[in-house]
């Protein structure tokens, strides 16, 4: 006992404790790092550190031609790759003032909504898992698998689809695919009820999510939150309704809104979005028009000089592309992605303040981030 005493309690003060959550932590959904300042178990402040998955997609795109970039957009929100494809292609089409055939727009709508369901499946699974309900995770993945099968049939890939081309689609839908989509809708209906049976009226679930991370509508908008997080606070903002793209102007659907802006409302909004997505898919799949799948696209894609911003509603929120073309080269001069996960993650610091460590996990789950999209 001659060695100097090491006091193992040294890191545990009665005052404040700095806890480093991540980048290797099971519930930060990737490589997010949150530095928490704790008073006991209460969060005094949080610093969100990102950039661990930064691959420089914006910079890379400046040296790829316009078609090659579609491939890069797959790697941003890798659980909803088709949505990013659609967003990018629409932006370039806007820049080139291209007309997209109706058939292609319908298929895009179906793909976007299937992707929304797949993404929300992943979200409900991991969110429930974060709060400790492990069964929902596997149920949700079971249904996500069906969607991946549909995508595999459409474009041959299951995760990074590269499923869009500027001006339309790379391939027509396989015969009978729309029937399969409708069949899937029928299955999915009952499965959503299954998730809700496990969670929506569960007392522990209510206690864990109600009143956690409350944010008012104006504050959420000011923080730049978007998508279900913003709608959970009661702001009627949905790009599909406000600035319709693809074939959304021909669809009827409702935008679910929350009232109190807490984790539970965000959960309810997303659960209702499942149903609305199914509704859109049914309308689109039943009414796919005949016609070409690609518009009049020049062989060499070279948009005129100019810049534009175009947004679509990805499962996480407003996914915007800001593209500057110099009109001379075959690659964009500036390619910028306004990713919804990035903007939503910014609100985490505001949301977690005053809550407990366990709520931090619930809140990271409730804003539904994909780190590939945050860091790009």
């Amino acid at each position: 006992m001659e060695t100097p005493t090491v006091h193992h309690g040294a890191m545990f003060d009665t005052n404040e404790l700095v806890l480093n959550m991540g980048p290797q932590h099971p519930s930060t959904h990737g490589v997010l790092r949150v530095v928490l300042r704790l008073d006991g178990e209460k969060v005094v402040d949080a610093d969100v550190v990102i950039g661990y998955l930064h691959r420089g997609i914006e910079k890379l795109s400046e040296n790829r031609n316009w078609t090659q970039i579609i491939l890069l957009t797959d790697r941003m929100d890798y659980v909803a790759a088709a949505t990013s494809n659609v967003g990018y292609c629409e932006t370039v089409e806007k820049l080139m003032s291209l007309e997209v055939p109706r058939r292609a727009r319908y298929v895009r709508t179906i793909l976007c909504e299937l992707q929304r369901i797949a993404s929300h499946c992943l979200w409900v699974g991991t969110h429930a898992m974060d709060i400790g309900a492990m069964t929902v995770f596997l149920y949700a993945f079971r249904e996500r698998e069906l969607i991946l099968d549909l995508f595999e049939e459409f474009c041959g890939a299951r995760l990074t689809y590269n499923s869009m081309r500027i001006g339309g689609l790379p391939l027509d839908i396989p015969p009978g695919w729309d029937k399969k989509v409708l069949e899937f809708c029928k299955i999915m209906d009952s499965k959503i009820d299954e998730y809700e049976t496990l969670l929506t009226h569960n007392r522990i679930w209510l206690e864990r999510t109600r009143g956690i991370g409350v944010i008012s509508g104006p504050e959420a908008a000011g923080l730049g939150l978007c998508g279900p997080v913003l709608r959970g606070s009661g702001v009627p903002r949905d790009v599909r309704k406000d600035e319709p793209y693809a074939a959304y102007d021909e669809m009827t659907f409702d935008v679910p809104l929350g009232t109190s802006g807490d984790t539970y409302d965000r959960y309810l909004v997303r659960m209702e979005e499942f149903r609305q997505s199914l509704r859109i898919i049914r309308q689109a799949a039943e009414g796919i028009p005949d016609g070409p799948i690609v518009g009049k696209v020049p062989r060499l894609i070279k948009p005129p000089a100019g810049e534009t911003y175009h947004a679509i509603e990805s499962p996480k929120g407003e996914l915007g592309f800001f593209i500057v073309s110099d009109g001379k080269s075959t690659n964009p001069y500036r390619f910028r992605v306004r990713s919804p996960s990035f903007c939503n993650l910014q609100g985490l610091r505001r949301l977690v303040r005053g809550h407990l460590v366990a709520d931090v996990v619930a809140l990271i789950g409730s804003i539904d981030i994909v780190l590939g999209e945050v860091d790009r």
Partner: protein, 204 residues
């Protein structure tokens, strides 16, 4: 560590780089939206240029009036741009005011969009709008991180995506496509030693 003066000079921009986006003026038969008229009424020298391209309205604003314009656009009832959906920049190195800083605004009440654009020189201070839209906080940090735009009055101006000790600003057009790390790869053993020493310092 804002700017390493050596790095940009080493890779001078190519002559082919254009001098900026065209920013075409709106066609004569298209009336600008009402909030632009009231904006130029409220702040006389607020708008330097108005442009319209593929359906998007853009106003170019002098850097000095940025905060006034932003405040007006946020608060005026006919504009009510409560959502700052994006802040980004583009780099035109041949221009004296090399940076375009672009603010994409959206109004959840009126459901209209507007892009506000300022032109800033390399070290010119660009006032932060995060006091008006708290959501601009990270977006401005990213602009600072990627372009080195000198955002002033920002509550928390640190690098966002790149490591804190990174040299240079990667999204600039004159940023070398081989980063400093790659340059050190010419002598990998020294580089590994250096990195290990740094890692150990970090752990301690």
């Amino acid at each position: 560590m804002p700017d390493d003066p050596k790095a940009p000079e080493a890779h001078a921009p190519k002559a082919a780089v254009p001098a900026g986006p065209p920013d075409p003026a709106p066609p004569a038969d298209l009336a600008p939206p009402a909030f632009l008229a009231s904006l130029s009424e409220a702040i006389a020298d607020g708008i330097a240029q108005t442009s319209y391209f593929v359906g998007d309205w853009t106003v170019v604003v002098p850097v000095a009036r940025l905060l006034d314009v932003a405040r007006h656009l946020c608060d005026a009832p006919d504009a009510a741009f409560d959502l700052c959906s994006d802040v980004t920049a583009s780099d035109w190195p041949t221009r004296p005011q090399r940076f375009d800083v672009i603010y994409c605004l959206y109004s959840t009440r009126h459901r209209h969009r507007l892009r506000v654009k300022i032109r800033a020189a390399e070290h010119e201070g660009v006032p932060s709008v995060s006091g008006i839209w708290p959501g601009a906080n990270w977006l401005e940090r990213e602009v600072y991180d990627m372009f080195g735009v000198n955002v002033t009055g920002h509550p928390d101006r640190r690098r966002l995506l790149m490591p804190d000790d990174w040299q240079g600003h990667p999204q600039r057009k004159d940023y070398p496509l081989e980063g400093p790390g790659e340059l050190l790869m010419e002598n990998p053993i020294d580089w590994l030693k250096l990195r290990q020493a740094r890692d150990e310092a970090d752990i301690e």
